[in-house]
Subunit: 145 residues, 2 copies
DNA sequence: TCCCTTATCTTGAATGAGTCAAGTATTTTT
DNA sequence: AAAAATACTTGACTCATTCAAGATAAGGGA
């Protein structure tokens, strides 16, 4: 778990000003990966007291643009953020409860980056979402039958 | 391109009532794959005259649940619908103009379905979105420099 | 063919994540 | 320490989508 001064260094390295909301957002996302904006806002307020929701939206956008955070937005869900950036990992999402887990692609370093026919597109990212049922929900469903 | 009576058969096969809005929505989506709800509503109204937007939302949901349409909702975009269902094709999306093209996965029949560690999830679908730049946008950008 | 049941459509309001805009405060530079 | 630039606060607003209640139309049985 990075410390506050680690976060400071990360912000400066990205040419971003060091502010309390930004540090708090970084703390929050590192502490709970795949958190949505509202949870992050809650964590930031617990940490700092009153902070505007707009500030958190701004911070999340700035940090995402800077590459310090990654935004994921599965169909039907609100945006979520994670601190694991720079690799090409993917996500497994439970259709039942919405929980998200990380997944490295079986193919390895460049998963699925070559579509058989990319229609002349220049592809820069392959986003993979595995939809399924998490262990908890699988157990619950099975038990009730 | 399927005909109206093809659509009727498809609806009956899915135990859905045959109504004018449903036929019109099927026509619209078959005519322009990856259309969003608003475009579909426009096409339906051109076809039938006034139809409530709620009706189109209801129809799209019913047809999607019945497996006659597939809903795709890339991050940052509104929902879109396509009539190509039952295979496991994926999508290439232009970050610049938002245009969507179909893509079959290079791996073949079950693309990326095996994450290296699925954390105990029972996975039923692997959704792949290739992000990039379409030929038109690539040309425009290059030409302007 | 008519009627009944039920699914579907209409109308109109509401929800809620996210954005816009103008002004104030804070950080960084000089 | 002052200036310049960036970030935060406040409050209104957008817009895709959903909710709810009543009206209408489709399909099956008599």
């Amino acid at each position: 778990m990075p410390t506050t001064s680690d976060f400071e260094r990360m912000l400066r390295a990205a040419s971003l000003r060091v502010t309390r909301p930004r540090i708090a957002v970084l703390h929050a996302v590192h502490a709970s990966p795949h958190a949505d904006t509202d949870s992050i806002l809650g964590a930031v307020r617990t940490d700092l007291g009153e902070v505007s929701h707009q500030a958190v939206y701004d911070v999340l956008r700035a940090l995402t643009n800077a590459g310090l955070l990654r935004r994921i937005q599965p169909a039907g869900y609100v945006a979520r953020y994670e601190s694991r950036v720079g690799d090409n990992h993917h996500h497994v999402i439970c259709r039942s409860c919405g929980v998200i887990a990380d997944a490295d692609c079986a193919v390895g370093h460049a998963p699925c980056l070559s579509a058989s026919d990319s229609h002349g597109f220049v592809i820069d990212e392959a986003e993979v979402i595995y939809w399924g049922t998490c262990p908890d929900c699988t157990t619950t469903t099975t038990a009730s039958s």
